[in-house]
Structures are given as structure tokens and as C-alpha cells.
Symmetry: C2
Subunit: 368 residues, 2 copies
């Protein structure tokens, strides 16, 4: 991996061997939607939500479905440095680089840091670290179908069958076919209101945006330069003044703070040309709420997904999670009950997206 | 107070001044119905469930409605000795005697211990320590109306308007009038099935048994000798070998253990003659479940009774209690949510009488 990214980006168009696919794992999220499991110091991706491995470990392990890929770049919050390194080591993975963001600035600046740390011709496979992908081979097939277009300078998104009018997701309109399984992206709709979402799902020509991307490092840096130059400039300045220790890179905080906080969707996808979408029915979940977590967990015959020291009586269709505490439930249904040693959430399962509001209120209240 | 009760009981029929009313506060209950607030080492009566004072403190303080009464005898579990003494002192009350049961044997043996520690002519006003009485002056009036009959050897119960077909209560059938506000008790029905309870309430001639009694010490000892001699014998032997320290009396454990575990209702009330009932609409609650506790607490405009560090969103008609932990509730209604540092209960409010079953299961599970 070239660490002099500015120099490397001069290599545009170097042909020959197929460019390397470099996974970029974004692990910088704070996660307020799974409180009280997730906390500022314990973000969702570092928790064993779905199985014994954490979401980050599941994401890293999933890369084995793409054996031709290089070692991953991991972008994480500086606060989580030790835990991220420990979790990667725990499943025998050493990242090519561990970029430690001094503060969270959303996905566009994180991707800029990764792109500037790679070779311009590397194909960056950007993946969130807190999603579940039940059929990773479907993703691998889509990546292989998309790679030639990415090498030609297209920005590839991966689209999911839109099966419900979700208002929290981004939607991609399918355009002209570019290659088998790959179409031009004819438009983006980010987090539409319910009426729009319903229409988009009914249209049949929209896919959910998975948040997984494939592009040349050089391509995305050019797109950032065109669409969000202050993001790219701040990331470049932060890396120029970075503290490096082995594979750990600590970008300069002051420089990085100058970047706007913006997602790659808003910064680039909605503005750039040559965006494509590869559909992949990969058994995806963003585990974006306790209800979503309930959806992917195994249930007992009463429909409960219970973990920890739980006693349930006449209780059905509940997600119950006890961490270091005993939970008893009597004659309740369709609830989320999540208890840790210092906090308890009891919510209707279909209201569990309102957890962020609880976190906001608690933060508000705890202000001096 | 005479400590040689056997000798004192020879004084039957001594006339002259009105006999002293000696409150006997029963504080020996273990309490499994308010788990996880109540625990083996933290019984219900020692908890501040309804207000800042504990139930025992409320009970002791309530005696001020009867200023003519003597200092109370308190019967408590030996395990709770320090806490009971501390709580009594906390409201400036020094019991005439603090009888510390070496083990719980239900109310009949506890009352036998108190009766044997009093003078035969003392009128014992026996009261549970874990009830709420909203109108203590109504109780005081009933006690005064009943005292002459008690002095004549009647066993007085205090009856409450039976307003619902409760299956957990005892019912007393009203018989012939004995004095203004006092009638003979024509029969007892203990914890009837729902059909019977419904019929009893509909009949209009049944009162709930409040668990409050008034009788001469000599009368109840004679009744015990007749109906449950092993209770009286075990209590007498336990007191004969008791360890006494100031006003603290520690009955001998081995002797006391020989008593059957039986309530005064089963041991005496259902068998003895000359039982009377004084009706008293005293604003009574046994706080026998979280739903009952909800019933007597103040509610906010959403119908929630919340205490502790609670954030509620779209939540109505819930009892929420957080002790040393944060509780957040979203869009739930009619629930009991009680959380302590090591255990959480989430129950439908109208299922909260099933809490004992949870306690039983936890005990079962924790067996070696």
C-alpha cells in the first residue's frame, strides 16, 4: 500500500494486472439507536449483537467471501483504537491500515482518508461495519460484476430489493443496463417521507442503498474534489500532519475538524456523474433498530428472542436482552426489553426507532 | 408490661380502669409480591413504597390517631432487627417490646408471642406493618367502638367494604348487631375462587378482612389453647428460653420452630366462638401487588406513576420505578416497570399478582 497518496494518485490509468480490491471498513459510527446496549464509548459495531462475534468482527470475517481482496483499511474513532485492534486480532486479521479519526465527521471525510491512503488505482470496497449480510457470496458476485466498471471510473453502489416503504433508507433508481447485473443509477432519494417511500417501492424500479460502494480511490477523490472540495482538502491536510505508528494512522485533529460532517451520499452520490448500481439480494440488515435486530435473531416457540438472565411468563414476540442483570417479563407482547447494569429500555417493538429520542433527552438532561 | 404472661393471664375479669390498648405491629413478612423491590433481606414493610417513610414507619406513625394507646409491641424477623429498630427510632418511636422471631411462622405464632408478652387484660390491637390506611381516624373510631366488646372477651376483626371480587382476600359475613358499628361475625371465607368472590360481593353482607384485630391477650391465648394448642405451647416455650436485652426479646429458635406455620385466620378465626366484626371504611390497601401500589400512588397527566430516573415517551397508565438505574419507556401502556441495580420486572399491570411465580422460578433456578 502506498502511503504517499498524493503521489500515488498521479498513477491514474495505469493498466496491466487487474487493480487490487481493498476493503475499507467504516467503523466510526457512534450509534444511538441501540441504547442502552450502544453508548458513546461502546458503539454498535463493537458489540456482539447478533452472535458471539461483534458486528465489526462479522464484517471483517465476511471478507473471506472475496479471497482476491487485499488486507482491509479500517477507519475507526480514535477512542475505539484499542478495542478495534483487539477485535480484529481476535479473529486473526491485521488491517493494512487502521485510520483513527480524531472526531466523527460522517462517511465522506472517512472515505476521503481511506482513499488518500490507498493507491489511486486501488478499487476501494467501502463497507459499514455494523450491518448483517446473510448471503455474502451474493455480495461477492456483485462486486466481481461491478469491478470492471469501477476500474473504468464508475462509482458503484450496491442496491438491495426494496421490500418495504422504509423511511430511514436511501433509494436508488435503476437506469440503463451497463453490464450483466449492473445498471446506471438514474437518481437518488435519501430518507423519503412515507408516501414517497411507498410510491418508490410500488414503482419496482428503485433499490435500497446498502451503503456499500466500489470505486477507484482516484475516482472518489476526483469526485470529492468536484463536489465537496473542503472534505478532500481537510482529509489531505489531516493526513499530511498525521501521526503514524506501524499501521496506525492518526490524522491531525485540527485539520480534520475543518471538514464538514457529511455523508458520502449527500456529498457525492447525489451530484456526481457515472454512478452505477449493482443489485445484490445479499440478506442484508442494517440492524438499525431493536425491531430490526429482533427480525434477524432466532426466536423460541413463543416468538421471543431472549438472551441473558431472563425469565418470561406468558410473554410473546419480544426481544429481551439482559446484560449483567436479571429480567423478568409477565404477560407482555411485542416489546423490546433491554437491560444493562445501569439502564433499561422498555419499548413497543414497532416504536424502537424512537430510541434516539431517548438518548437525545438523556443527553439534554445531563447537560450542566 | 408484665413479662410473666402465664401468671398475668390469671387476672381474668379484673375490673376497674379501662384496659390498655397495646398495638401489636406484625413486621415478620418476607414479601415476594413486590419483587424486585422486596427481597428476602428487604421485605416490603421496610421499604418506602408509598412515600418517603417506609410502610413500617407509616404504620407506627399511624398510631398517633389513637393517642390513648400504649407503646406498641413490634414482632419482626430477627434478620431485620437492626433495620426495624433504626426505622422506629427514625420517627421517634421506642417500642415497648421488640420481639425478634428466629424464623417466620406466619401470624398465629407471632400473635401468640405478643399475647404472652402482654398482660392478660391488655387489649391487643394487632396490625400488619405493610398496609396503607388512608383514613386512620375511621380505624380509631372503630377501635373505640369495638373495645368494650373486646374487653368482654370478644375477638374483634375489622371489616372493609368489599368493592371487588378479590380472590386473594378473606371475607367476613356480617351477623347480628352487637353494638353500634359492631356485628357478630357469622362466617369466614378465606381466599375464595372468583365465582364465590363475585357472589360474596353481590350479597352485600360480606366485608373484607383487613387483617387488623382487637382482643384481650388472655382471650386470644385461650382461643389458641383451644384451637391450636401447639402454636401456643411453642410460643410459650420459645419465650421461656428467650434471650432478653432491654426491650428486645429473642425467643428460642428450636422451641419456636416446633410451632406450625399458620395464620391467625386459619388457626382461630374460622374456629373460635364470639368473633365480631367492626366495619371501617378506612381507605385501606394491602399494597399486595404492583397494581395495588399503582392504585394508591399519585399519577401524572398521562396516568403514569413514575419514580426515580425515568424518561417516558408516549407512555400511559404505567407504574415505573427506577432504583439506582435509568429506565426509558417508549409507547407502552398499562405496564409495571420496576428496575433495581440487579433486576428488572416488566409486567402487564393487571398481571402483577404473578410476580410470586417469578420469584418461585428464580429460587428454583438458583438452587444448587
Amino acid at each position: 500500500m502506498a502511503l504517499d497518496a498524493e503521489a500515488a494518485s498521479e498513477h491514474k490509468g495505469v493498466g496491466g494486472a487487474a487493480p487490487a480490491i481493498v476493503p475499507v471498513i467504516l467503523s466510526g459510527g457512534a450509534g444511538t439507536r441501540l441504547w442502552p446496549l450502544s453508548r458513546p464509548g461502546r458503539p454498535k459495531q463493537l458489540l456482539p449483537l447478533v452472535e458471539a462475534r461483534t458486528m465489526l468482527q462479522m464484517t471483517l470475517a465476511r471478507l473471506s467471501c472475496l479471497p482476491e481482496a487485499a488486507a482491509p483499511i479500517v477507519v475507526a474513532g480514535a477512542r475505539d483504537a484499542e478495542e478495534v485492534a483487539r477485535q480484529a486480532a481476535g479473529i486473526g486479521i491485521v488491517p493494512a491500515a487502521l485510520i483513527l479519526e480524531p472526531l466523527g465527521r460522517n462517511t465522506a471525510p472517512a472515505i476521503a482518508l481511506a482513499a488518500l491512503s490507498a493507491r489511486a488505482n486501488d478499487l476501494l470496497l467501502v463497507m459499514p461495519s455494523d450491518h448483517v449480510i446473510g448471503r455474502p457470496e451474493a455480495l461477492a458476485d456483485a462486486v466481481r460484476a461491478a469491478a470492471p466498471l469501477a476500474a473504468q471510473g464508475w462509482i458503484l453502489t450496491f442496491g438491495l430489493p426494496a421490500t418495504a416503504p422504509e423511511t430511514g433508507y436511501g433509494y436508488i433508481r435503476r437506469g440503463a443496463a451497463l453490464a450483466p447485473g449492473v445498471e446506471a443509477a438514474a437518481g437518488f432519494v435519501e430518507k423519503p417521507p412515507i408516501e414517497t417511500a411507498t410510491a418508490l417501492v410500488a414503482s419496482g424500479d428503485h433499490l435500497w442503498n446498502s451503503g456499500i460502494f466500489l470505486f477507484r480511490a482516484g475516482t472518489i477523490l476526483d469526485a470529492l474534489a468536484a463536489c465537496a472540495p473542503d472534505v478532500r482538502d481537510a482529509a489531505a491536510a489531516a493526513l499530511a500532519a498525521a501521526v503514524r505508528d506501524g499501521h496506525e494512522i492518526r490524522p491531525n485533529a485540527e485539520a480534520f475538524a475543518r471538514s464538514p460532517s457529511i455523508s458520502i451520499d449527500y456529498a457525492v452520490m447525489e451530484h456526481a456523474d457515472r454512478i452505477a448500481v449493482a443489485a445484490a439480494d445479499m440478506g442484508w440488515s442494517d440492524v438499525g433498530s431493536f425491531d430490526a435486530l429482533y427480525g434477524i435473531l432466532d426466536k423460541d416457540e413463543e416468538g421471543n428472542a431472549a438472551e441473558g438472565d431472563v425469565v418470561a411468563l406468558g410473554t410473546t414476540d419480544c426481544l429481551i436482552r439482559a446484560e449483567g442483570i436479571t429480567v423478568a417479563a409477565i404477560d407482555v407482547e411485542g416489546l423490546v426489553i433491554v437491560a444493562t447494569k445501569d439502564a433499561v429500555l422498555v419499548s413497543r417493538r414497532d416504536s424502537s426507532q424512537k430510541v434516539s429520542e431517548i438518548v437525545r433527552r438523556l443527553a439534554e438532561r445531563d447537560k450542566p
